[in-house]
Symmetry: C2
Subunit: 117 residues, 2 copies
DNA sequence: TTCGTAGTTTGACATTCGACGTACTACGAT
DNA sequence: ATCGTAGTACGTCGAATGTCAAACTACGAA
């Protein structure tokens, strides 16, 4: 009944020092990826890919999560068949203090403005 | 000796309410455009396109400035043959308080980190 | 061991992007 | 009226992007 063990299947992440602002902005300039990040931030915990009910196929979902991981926005780790996703808050806050919160705040504001909770 | 008059040549800008966060992030995810915006912010005034010495042709320069204008990041106005560019600070600060400064701060930090004033 | 669930990989496709060159327009200065 | 400067428009090109379908892998449960 315990959670499945963390697997060691390879999942390349950029190191903290390799993360680029341009890459983060590009990753978040896609509405679907921005939504994923907002949800991760709201929950404040790791979520599996399948937790998200995205209006695209599985392969497209895989693609979006990979863009987020390779840009340094999220960290991914296998846990059984599930792949858990978590924001790299520590690294992002260290590299760019205040940026993530400003982005999340802006996204929240826009969501309200455009009339969708 | 006075400045040339502001011309009325058409230059479509999105209204404040039409500006989208995703568009801003996409616009700023290009290194050249991010650099332009940093420079505009540093000067705090309007600058002509030709003030920037970009390593691309004139037509590519036109392209980048148009992306910035159409995403709502800058405002452009003709003044004689020159086209003056200014940040839309008022609109951006109203729509997304703190976002622009966070982005500029992040860009400055990264520039220092990567060792280029 | 067999099955189902979660996610990957590959290849295709249409679109967009960043860059270019050439020909063009708009305006100020001479 | 002519010239030079600033920037545009258009067409092109190669690379990247977002999407899909189909075949596949990895793991837990029965």
């Amino acid at each position: 009944m315990t959670s499945p063990a963390v697997s060691s299947r390879a999942l390349p992440h950029p190191e903290r020092g390799e993360i680029r602002l341009e890459g983060i902005l590009h990753a978040l300039s896609d509405p679907m990826r921005l939504q994923i990040v907002r949800e991760l931030a709201a929950v404040g915990d790791e979520l599996s890919c399948s937790h998200f009910d995205l209006p695209v196929t599985k392969s497209t979902t895989t693609h979006h999560f990979r863009v987020l991981r390779e840009s340094g926005v999220i960290r991914q780790v296998y846990q059984g068949t599930a792949k858990m996703n978590g924001l790299r808050r520590d690294d992002l806050d260290d590299l760019f203090p205040g940026l993530l919160d400003a982005l999340l705040g802006a996204a929240a504001r826009q969501a309200i403005r455009l009339g969708s909770g």
